[in-house]
């Protein structure tokens, strides 16, 4: 039957039509509820932390929580945890390009005031 064939295809290394047969893992509603709760808690912590004076750490904490929330949304709401390596690589590539834009431009701005040279 064709269904069994497609499963064989998944393990056939020369299969090019569907090279990385990503399992159709269906994320359950329970997982979604846990993620939802985590995101709301994270938001509450972010707001509370903003009112506590931690000096230079305030933006660090805020961004760290935001990054964590983003990662959770990407992995679970957007299913990336259960997707093929290609998708994971693609997401990484996007953030890599963004990091390059930010850090290499910052290179200029940070060093403008260094010395007279």
């Amino acid at each position: 039957m064709a269904h069994e064939v497609s499963h064989d295809q998944a393990h056939d290394p020369s299969n090019v039509t569907n090279p990385e047969h990503a399992e159709h893992h269906i994320v359950t509603p329970i997982q979604y509820c846990l993620v939802f709760a985590t995101l709301l808690v994270g938001t509450a912590i972010t707001v509370a932390a903003a009112y506590v004076n931690m000096g230079a750490f305030n933006p660090v904490i805020a961004l760290a929580i935001a990054c964590t929330k983003a990662v959770i949304v990407i992995l679970f709401f957007m299913h990336v945890k259960y997707q093929s390596r290609l998708i994971k690589l693609t997401v990484g590539a996007g953030f890599f390009a963004f990091i390059i834009l930010v850090t290499m431009t910052l290179l200029d701005y940070i060093s403008r005031a260094w010395g007279m040279w």
Binding site: M1, A2, H3, V5, S6, D8, Q9, N15, T17, N18, H21, A22, H24, I26, V27, T28, P29, Y32, C33, V35, F36, L39, L40, T43, T46, V47, A50, Y51, V52, N53, N58, P59, A62, L63, I65, A66, K69, A70, V73, I74, F76, F77, M78, H79, Q83, S84, L86, I87, T90, V91, A93, G94, F95, A97, F98, L101, V102, T105, L106, Y109
Partner: protein
Amino acid sequence: MANSITSTGHVDHLEKLMPHESIINDEGEHVVLPQHRHHFETAEQQREAGSFGMWLFLLTEIMFFGGLFFAYLLYRNWYYPAFAVASNQLNVPEGAANTAILITSGFFMALGVWAAEVRKKKLLVLMLVFTTIFGVAFLGVKADEYHEKYEKHHIPGASFSTSMFTNPPVNPKTGKPDELPLAPDMAQHTEIFFFLYFAMTGMHAFHMIIGIVLLFWLTWRAHRGEFSSGYVAPIENFGLYWHFVDIVWLFLFPLLYLINRHPIH
């Protein structure tokens, strides 16, 4: 691997490499989905290609917003006092509520994808409706916030006024101003903060509006049963877009609203 024999009796040795799409519906019959595009060999290939394509589009969105995020990073660094004071003009309860609203909207969207995957049509439609409602609620709160900015003359351009930054109003409860006054040139830089606020949240809201229009369309199609027989790609891919827009807000909120919520008097 035995060669399979197609319905016309012709032995197709290629069958094992390229099975026809093999969706089995509730009656156990093989169904060829009408949405199958013929340049794809299998439905699997089509679904994965669609998902990959949507992710690539989201990468372009990351880079698009990226330019604005960098401008924000630069000017917040250069004009921190102005940014801090201007940020305190934003309404944290509204911003936090909006964050919760958008997270909830995303939660319903994720449930909607699940409903499509397990082929529960009514649940899918309900989830899409809730997603839309919370999305619209977000925009409503945003509109209220923008209106407040308009009234306080904080919209950049000809009507922008820095008077409340050079001469901060006295807080009736404490008898003192909430903020220290800014020098005139630093006060002028609050306009850059507000420009970035409007540009970033405005661009975000624009993406939400597009999303909501798409949601109306998808809800209507879902109601007609187009996504309850195994064809989940549009719901899945729209979900990716919606969650991405959510992630952008998850960063905008702390960066714009929570710069320095504990000013020293």
